[in-house]
């Protein structure tokens, strides 16, 4: 088992839920992203999702779209993100998932990507536009390199679809809590509980829930029915609002600490 599996196992033993935080790499700069990662780990964040910016993020709402644009303007590339992860690995063991779209990986070269990511210390990949039907071309290499392939289950996925996804998913399952793009609505706890319950009957894999959770109260409620929660747009928005604030890192770390408290 890798860092992701170990993390869920140790949390389960403590009866805690995982806090997974998404950051768009390179927003406002890769140096700040790196600094944030170290601080977030100290604040109790369990797993990091590092967003690789893409020009056309069709599954993302306005907040992450804008962050991706800013990150691209500062010259962030998949190669520079991989290098940053390698730097972080020198002094941190926090599980890291790369989150993004397929084209930057395809342009980099799938084989080279799998090798470089694994060597850099990436633990898993979540490629939004790579459903099981298309995943083979990457997984031939990424599975062999030991990278988890984190899969999405949506509110629109029926039971048969869930089964198809579960057949090949590894690491943890990411349940998309709203029928919509990232950060555009608040999830309904009872709906999430029902759907997560359905998935539970089909798998023992840890289930994390995301796409619209923005505060400790929601985190607590959703955390009660899942193994972890993901905060993305809310953090990215807070980073943008504080980008000229010298206390940026502290603001973000306090915010995540509060959410982690709700999950203990």
């Amino acid at each position: 088992m890798g860092r992701i599996g170990d993390k869920f196992e140790s949390l389960r033993a403590k009866n805690e839920k995982a806090l997974i935080v998404y950051l768009t790499a390179g927003d406002p700069s890769l140096a700040v992203t790196k600094e944030l990662i170290f601080e977030l780990e100290k604040a109790g964040v369990d797993i990091l999702e590092i967003g690789v910016p893409f020009s056309d993020p069709t599954a993302d709402g306005p907040v992450i779209q804008a962050a991706s644009q800013r990150a691209l303007k500062t010259g962030t590339t998949l190669a520079s993100v991989l290098k940053m992860v390698a730097d972080i690995r020198l002094s941190s063991q926090i599980p890291i998932v790369l989150f993004g779209y397929f084209n930057p990986i395809f342009a980099y070269g799938v084989e080279k990507f799998a090798r470089t990511a694994s060597e850099a210390g990436v633990d898993g990949v979540l490629v939004v536009d790579l459903p099981p039907e298309e995943a083979r071309e990457l997984r031939v290499y990424s599975d062999a390199a030991g990278l988890d392939f984190i899969s999405l289950v949506a509110p629109t996925s029926g039971k048969d679809r869930m089964k198809t996804i579960l057949k090949t998913a590894t690491g943890f399952l990411y349940y998309v809590s709203i029928t919509g793009v990232t950060g555009t609505a608040a999830p309904k706890v009872e709906d999430v509980a029902r759907e997560v319950g359905k998935i539970r009957k089909l798998t023992k894999m840890p289930i994390a829930v995301g796409f619209g959770i923005s505060n400790a109260k929601q985190a607590k409620a959703i955390g009660a029915v899942a193994d972890g929660i993901v905060i993305g747009s809310a953090v990215v928005k807070l980073i943008d609002e504080n980008r000229n604030n010298s206390e940026l890192v502290k603001v973000i770390s306090n915010y995540t600490r509060e959410i982690k408290e709700a999950l203990r």
Binding site: S55, Y101, P104, D129, L130, E133, E134, T179
Partner: protein
């Protein structure tokens, strides 16, 4: 040629279904629903009826006598898709998809549009079938295609302005896909070109293939056989695939797809994804894409809003890779010249998109023998481009 796509929507390495999980069930449902109707006699009858009685098909294959004589070479025919109801070939596809949406019980439709031709054709069928309609359109395109924006509004559609990126077709498609992710349970997305995730490229091709089937029948009657050369403009490629598909196994028919070279292939301001791009994944399919070395999609440019797209339908990518069709380029200036030339020679004002096909014909027709025949797909009429042409003068 083998029958493509395969069951997962691949045309060899191209095509596929690179879509977010939220959309996958809807795409699978659409594929099932389309599979049922494509062989269903009552659907075929209904579709035929609307094409004939409402859209005005078959469209004429017009012998362009003056164009032929001035250019002095091949005998030139124009496939008059501009004479369809709404003024372009787009209605062939929107009628098919709206009829399918109706059978699936969907009462809301959305679409992206560049030149506004597909938007107008979608707004038209939405009015016809009493459906709620939202059209996503880039702000830059709203500005340069104002007449079509008015037409959509008159037809009762809501036009949603898109500000992101270059505010053109690619961005409109991004936004339509995002909206669809949030509304997929009750909304049908009418994609306007042979792109997007499977089954769209195949379905749009099949709905448009009537163009080539008619050409085949008409030219046989007039000339006794197939044309020697077939020319169509390519943005996403729906009119070109519609014209080409019936001839895919006719090896003696030379096919040219004309991409927009914009301000020149030596600049970055063009939309020629086959001639100037690399293989990549965008909007649900793998195809040739204008992109940088890091896989970020570049902004496309063309004077013709309907060609202003950084990708191309995956089956065109396949035709290009297997050399079944040849893809060439024409600049803004050449297209504008062809626009005026056809208007003055034949009294037909072509859409700026279609003018790209005319411009390429003007390059090669003079060198062809007089006993050779050429068919140009005149995909749309040019009234909508008056403002753009005035700005170039």
């Amino acid at each position: 040629m083998k029958t493509l796509p395969d069951k997962n929507g691949h045309f060899d390495i191209f095509g596929g279904r690179y879509a977010a999980e939220t959309l996958m069930p809807a795409l699978l449902e659409l594929e099932d629903a389309y599979d049922k109707v494509r062989k269903d006699k009552s659907f075929i009858r209904e579709f035929d009826w609307y094409r004939r009685e409402y859209a005005g098909r078959p469209t004429p294959l017009y012998y362009a006598r003056r164009l032929t004589s001035v250019l002095g070479g091949a005998k030139i025919y124009l496939k008059r898709e501009d004479l369809n109801h709404t003024g372009s070939h787009k209605i062939n596809n929107t009628l098919g998809q709206a009829l399918l949406a109706r059978r699936m019980g969907k009462k809301k439709v959305i679409a992206e549009t560049g030149a506004g031709q597909h938007g107008v054709a979608t707004a038209t069928v939405a009015a016809l079938f009493g459906m709620e309609c939202k059209i996503f359109m880039g702000e830059e395109d709203i500005r340069r295609q104002a007449p079509n924006v008015f037409r959509m509004k008159i037809l009762g559609a809501e036009v949603v302005p898109v500000k992101s990126g270059t505010a053109t077709l690619k961005d409109a498609m991004n936004e339509a896909m995002r909206y669809w992710v949030g509304s997929v349970r009750d909304t049908f997305y009418i994609i306007g070109t042979t792109a997007g995730p499977h089954p769209y490229p195949m379905m749009v091709r099949n709905f448009q293939s009537v163009i080539g089937l008619e050409i085949k029948k008409q030219i046989k009657k007039m000339e006794g056989g197939n044309p020697d050369v077939l020319i169509a403009c390519v943005g996403g490629g729906s009119n070109a695939m519609g014209a080409f598909y019936a001839f895919r196994n006719e090896k003696k028919v030379t096919m040219f797809g004309v991409e927009a070279a914009g301000r020149g292939m030596n600049t970055t301001e063009h939309s020629a994804s086959i001639n100037g791009g690399k293989v990549g994944v965008l909007h649900g399919n793998k195809t040739y894409l204008l992109q940088d070395d890091h896989g970020q999609v570049r902004d496309a440019y063309s004077i013709a809003a309907g060609l202003d797209y950084p990708g191309v339908g995956p089956e065109h990518a396949y035709f290009a890779a297997t050399k079944r069709a040849t893809y060439v380029t024409v600049t803004d200036d050449e297209a504008v010249e062809a626009f005026s030339f056809l208007s003055r020679q034949e009294g037909i004002i072509p859409a700026l998109e279609s003018a790209h096909a005319i411009a390429y014909a003007m390059k090669i027709a003079p060198a062809m023998k007089k006993n050779k025949t050429m068919v140009i797909c005149l995909s749309g009429r040019g009234d909508k481009d008056a403002q753009t042409i005035i700005e170039t003068m």
